[in-house]
Structures are given as C-alpha cells and as structure tokens.
C-alpha cells in the first residue's frame, strides 16, 4: 500500500513535524505570517503531554527556549522577520552556550515594520547572524513536504551539533496547501551529559555564556569555530537540475526556486542550455555543486525576493570562474516564471 498523501498547510506541516520529532515545548509571540504555527502548537502540545506558552515578547520567548534547552528537552519557536531581530541577542547566547533548539522564520517583507507579503530579505539576518562569531544552521524548504521533512531533520541536527537551527521560509510557503507524505523518520536519541536538572548524585553542571577570563573566551571561540568547520564539511545540502550541460545556471532557494525551475524548464524547451542549483542549507552554503557539477557553466543568475543577498555567497562559491548576475527586488515582490525566463534568455544570448 502506498503511503497516504495528505493536504497540509505549510505552517502546519512545520508544527506537526516538530511534534513528530518529539518537540514538547513551544514559546512564541503572535506575528503574521507565522501565527498558524503558534496556534497549532497551542492546540496540539497539551494533547501529547507537552507545554505551550505565549510569551510576552520575542525577547522573552527566545530566553524561555534557552531555559528548556538547558534541560536537554527539544524546544521550538516561530516568528517573522522583526521577531528574529528581537531574538538575535538570545540566538547568539544559545549558540555560545551550545544549546540545541529550532527557530522558524516565516519571513515578511521589510525593512522596519514592513508588510506581510513573502520575501527573502532575511537571508543576511539568518546566515550572517547577530553579534559575535557564531553560526546557525539554516534550512530553506521549497515545498510543504520539505517544511515537514526539514523540520524533523532540524531537531536532529540541533542535537547532534548542540547548536540552534533555523528554518528560513516565507508566507507563500507557510500559507499554501500541498499534498505531502509524512516521513517514517524516527527522531534520533542523544545522550545529553551536559543538561541541567539538579546536581543530586553527580557533579554539578554549568552552562555559561560569559567565561571567567579573556583567554577562556578565545578558547570558546576556537572550539565553536572547529565545530562550525565540521558542520560546513558535513552538512551542505542542495538540489541540482540539468547541470551537466548547463551554460546558464540559475541559483534560487525556497519560493523563488519553484518559480525559477519553471523558467529553466521553459528555457530548455526553447533550446537554451539552462540549469539550476537550489541551496537547501543556506548556512553552510552549498559551494560544492558550483565547483564540481557544472563544468559548462558560463554565467550564473541568482534569483531572490530581496535586493541581492545570497548573490554574495554565490560569487564566493563561483570565485571568479564566471560572471554572476542578480535578478530580484525586495519589499514583497514575487517574480513570475516569465520574467525569470526572459532574464535567462538575455544572459544566454550574451554568452
């Protein structure tokens, strides 16, 4: 019997996947377009013996995550762009204490208060982070199926590396419904010999973010950097399309990757050798396919719903090997496949 397909909303897929990944704690603050996640958790967590709390702010919510993460239990929050700005100090703190947790950003169009159409303008905020040298693993789903699958993966990655993991998506993916199949993936179990819970019968444990000496802070940075290098070496994820013969390679993640793939397919029908790289991890950025999978590439085009952010990482990955162009607009602009196809044709024509 084939697995049953279900019609599920993107935000709800994230929330239900968290439950299936044994996440039993959620703290959040209402903000459009992520509120369905919060409401789903408010209803669902008590049914499975979990705990939901609507915090007084995003600032408080991220510190509540810290409290739960200190005990070793799986915990999640969800918010949208300005909410991530408010959480950045806390995310830096969680990273410094090497605490696992999952943070969902259903991005809205900014800057400032902005409005609520979909956008990818938090790429920098997700991958280039808040204060200090730290990294958050960033996963970018492109379908409701991936909203669920990557959320389940996120909890395992968070525990494996003792690090915050962010799901970066937008209101388009969050609020649309698609059919999907629930994965059989079982959450991995991890020994957490660092978790707090009272020192009875063992040595006491400490989780600190401010070491005693300057030297210890340097040592912490060395340790963290070693871990980030290991993550970067092992966890780069991407999907590639038609790269073997592609001369014009589109790079896009999330919502724009769906639209761009249509454009690439249309361009190929017209005889243009187009291909596409879809980063699934935004940090670590998947530089491998740029080096290994597109021997014929003569031009790259980064398509983003922002003013040009991921294009910087594309340029680093291409490393001068070919021209890298940007096509996009911040503020809530959503491209059609037609305009992307025109861009591809323009670039391919100039090769």
């Amino acid at each position: 019997m084939s697995p049953q397909r279900e019609l599920v909303e993107g935000n709800e897929a994230i929330a239900e996947a968290a439950i299936r990944a044994n996440c039993r704690f959620f703290f959040g603050y209402p903000i459009t377009p992520q509120t369905e996640i919060l409401e789903y958790m408010a209803k669902r967590l008590p049914q499975v013996g979990g705990f939901f709390l609507q915090a007084e702010s995003e600032i408080a919510a991220i510190s509540m995550l810290q409290g739960v993460a200190c005990t070793g239990a799986r915990v999640m929050t969800a918010t949208s762009s300005p909410g991530i700005s408010l959480m950045q100090e806390g995310i830096s703190c969680l990273a410094s204490m090497q605490l696992p947790c999952v943070i969902v950003n259903v991005t809205r169009a900014s800057p400032g208060l902005g409005r609520i159409p979909p956008a990818q303008s938090d790429y920098f905020q997700a991958t280039k982070r808040g204060h200090g040298d730290f990294n958050v693993i960033v996963l970018a789903p492109a379908s409701v199926q991936e909203m669920a699958d990557l959320t389940m993966l996120a909890f395992d990655l968070a525990d494996e590396y003792r690090n915050p993991v962010m799901i970066l998506t937008d209101g388009m993916l969050g609020e649309m419904m698609e059919t999907m199949v629930w994965s059989e993936r079982q959450p991995r179990n991890f020994t957490k010999d660092w978790a707090l819970g009272g020192a009875e019968g063992r040595e006491r444990r400490l989780l600190v973010s401010a070491p005693l000496t300057d030297r210890e802070l340097i040592e912490l940075n060395v340790e963290l950097n070693k871990k980030y290098k290991e993550v970067a070496a092992r966890e780069r994820r991407w999907e590639e399309f038609y790269l073997a013969d592609a001369e014009a390679v589109v790079v896009a993640f999330g919502t724009t990757s769906r639209i761009s793939l249509e454009a690439v397919d249309e361009a190929r029908k017209r005889g243009i050798k187009a291909g596409m790289i879809r980063p699934i991890t935004l940090w670590p950025f998947p530089d491998l396919p740029f080096k290994n999978s597109c021997p014929k590439a003569k031009v790259f085009l980064s398509v983003e719903m922002n003013n040009g952010q991921m294009v910087e990482d594309v340029r680093l990955a291409v490393c001068g090997g070919a021209p890298v162009h940007f096509y996009g607009q911040g503020g809530g602009w959503v491209p059609s496949s037609l305009v992307i196809e025109e861009e591809i044709e323009k670039l391919a024509g100039a090769i």
């Binding site: 709390l53 739960v68 707090l196 009272g198 009875e200 400490l206």
Partner: protein
Amino acid sequence: MTSTEEATKLFSRPESLTRLPFAYCPGCGHGVIHRLIADVIDELGIAGKIVAVTSIGCSVRMWQHFTYDMCQALHGRAPAVATGLRRALPSDRVIFTYQGDGDLAAIGTAETVHAAARGENITVLFVNNAVYGATGGQLAPTTILGQKTASTPYGRDPALAGYPIRVCELLSSLDGVSYLARVGIFDASSVAQARRAVKKAFKSQMEGKGFSLVEFLASCPTNLHLKPVEAAQWVKERMTSFFPLGEFKQGKKE
C-alpha cells in the same frame, strides 16, 4: 568528656558554598546575600535539587561560589530562562534567579512582571543597591531622588529622570504572586529577618504556590563613594525611607 566535645556548632560556612573566597568589594551586599541563600538551601536540604539562573552585573560569576546546577541569562532575561526551566523540569526541582535592580526593573521589567503575572513557581532574589555597580555606578531604576550617580552627576531630578520604582509594591497587585518581601542586610537583626524571608520564599515555591521574590536593600560602597559602614548606614536611613521594609504578600489570592 572534654569541653570541646560538648561544644555546639552554631556557625560555619554553608556546605553548598564553594571554598572560593568572595572577590566583591569591602562592604558589598553580594557576599552576605550569597551566604544567606546557601545557608537556607542547606537547612532545607535542597542543594541537589537547585537549578539557578544568574544575570549580568558584579554577580555574573557567582556560579563559582555555589555547588548547584546553574546557567547564565542575558541581561534582564533570567525570569524567562527560569520559566523555560520550570516548565521542563520535574516539579520538585527548586529554581531561583539572582538579579540586580537594573536587570530586574529596567531592561527586564517585562520578564519580571509577566513571570509574576503567570505565577511561575520560581523564586527571584533581587538585589537593590540603587546603582549600576559593574558598569561604574550609573542611574538605576531604584536610584533615590537626589542621589548622585555617574549618569546623574547633579543628583536624580524627577523632572529629568523620573522616580524610583518600588518593585514589591508594583508586583503586589498581581494574583500570580505568592510571596513578596523587602529586607535589609545592614545590621544583625535585619540579616536575621532577611534569612527568614529567603526561607519563606523557597518554602512557598516548594509548596507550589507560585512566584516569590525577596528584595534585598544592599549597599555598594564603591559607587556610593562611602566607607562600608557609612554605606550600610545610608541604606538603613536613606534607602528605607523610599523602600519600606516588610512583607508585601503572603499567600496567593485564590
């Protein structure tokens, strides 16, 4: 039987304090308060069940002095971290935060008020010394009128910097709060009273009654530019006139 064997031990270092000497300034309140906390925790036999949250300020490294499981919180966020701990840990664990006046009543006012409003079953140990100590003696939310600080060099003028916040009075209207007391540590009898308040606060938590808070009026001689004894006198005379001592709440409203 020698006289030594008959002697009763009345006073010793609490077992849940480490051997490390305090490195606080002469006359600072932290040492006395640390000791009181450890003493009460030992008496209640709960050292192995404690999970404590420290915050920013001179006491940022206080974890060196205790033998409990501990974590640090960002400036102002200790009640939120404690909320996460409380909800994830078994109910017999005892959770306390240790916070200064700027931490609790300026940058962390929202976290304080909302943890209290929710009746989080945690104990907040609040050190009010009327200045920001670690950064060099600037205006605190509890700096009293006329008090000179590094950022109110002409004295706190209410027209410019407003009025001090009375935290116990502010929180006393919230139904989630089970125990609230303001105590001094400026003489032997106030220290004894402070010890009783800490014990009541922990017992209130152990009975599952909800949010408890003890506010210590403490002195910071270094930033008051006074000698330790003068600073203690200043707290006793000047601070208590703005911040009356006493119990503001005993028992949760049903």
